[in-house]
Symmetry: none
Subunit: 179 residues, 2 copies
Amino acid sequence: MGRQKIEIKKIENEDARLVSFSKRRSGLFNKASCLTTLCGVDAAVVVFSPAGTPYSFGSPRVEMVVDRFLSSGREMEEPNFFRQHHATSVQELNRRCMELENQVEAAQARRRALEERLSAVAAVRDEPEEMEVEELEALKEALNQLKKMTDEHMKERAAGSSSSAAQNEAGPSTPLDLG
Amino acid sequence: MGRQKIEIKKIENEDARLVSFSKRRSGLFNKASCLTTLCGVDAAVVVFSPAGTPYSFGSPRVEMVVDRFLSSGREMEEPNFFRQHHATSVQELNRRCMELENQVEAAQARRRALEERLSAVAAVRDEPEEMEVEELEALKEALNQLKKMTDEHMKERAAGSSSSAAQNEAGPSTPLDLG
DNA sequence: TAGACTATGTATAACCA
DNA sequence: TTGGTTATACATAGTCT
């Protein structure tokens, strides 16, 4: 018998689907592993089984890669980004579209996060006359988040320009320690 | 010549490594795409290029898969809105890509603007060790500025926007529904 | 940097244990 | 679910454009 060609659409037979999932999942993880090793890059893969069980691969760790992905504001800064797509296949374009949607989502998530921080800080400031322990705690938290984010932002900026890196020796981020 | 067997260790030659990364990345995304389609499951892949550029694949979306994964096993019954795009024409997909690119640009511009505003406050919190009356005064002032800015921001949101950024206020991106 | 090309290594569909 | 086996489809290293 050997391998037969199959259409890329949902496998109807449930048993076959489960077997296929198991084998392809490990194949996918193996590919991801090879990619990280061969090219010395970070990557993460998360897959849910048909039953809902999560499986994951991550180098160095899923959380680290995901955090970096969510906080990297540079999803789209490829130079010739607005050139015409001359994709050879619909599948290729489909992948491209999905990738773009994900990037839109990431950028929006980042923007929402920034807006939340701004709102949090603004809310605390609305009653300055009662700046008591509670408020100070909230402010402290908001500022810690803010600091974390701005530190990341500065790091991004420093990494982005090769010349200015030496000037702003940011150093390791220190907690605010307001209280 | 054709393909040669290679050891799974970091590719020393930089050019070869970059080429290999590009090819294997798309291969990995394709595998992930096939897995989700064939088995009807959710999956996400995030990869950073050797230069640090993030690439991603997600079904239904990276954020959703990651959120679900991070809430460790908790079932969020997510109807699979964006499983796969069934485009009818390359032209159609090209249009969709351009649209998405515009959204990405808009979202990023928005994010940059927010980050600039945050930087305005960042200067105040750079010396946290002596957070005394003086610093609190300065902080209060900075927060007042911040409030002014966020108020403007909220006004903008309420009024809608003349730029293409308005697309991003629509919340979760709409399903492609190309087929 | 991104497509082609081709020979060949690898992944995997079908089947069985 | 996982682990073989076989035959074949698919991915990709090396090279050139």
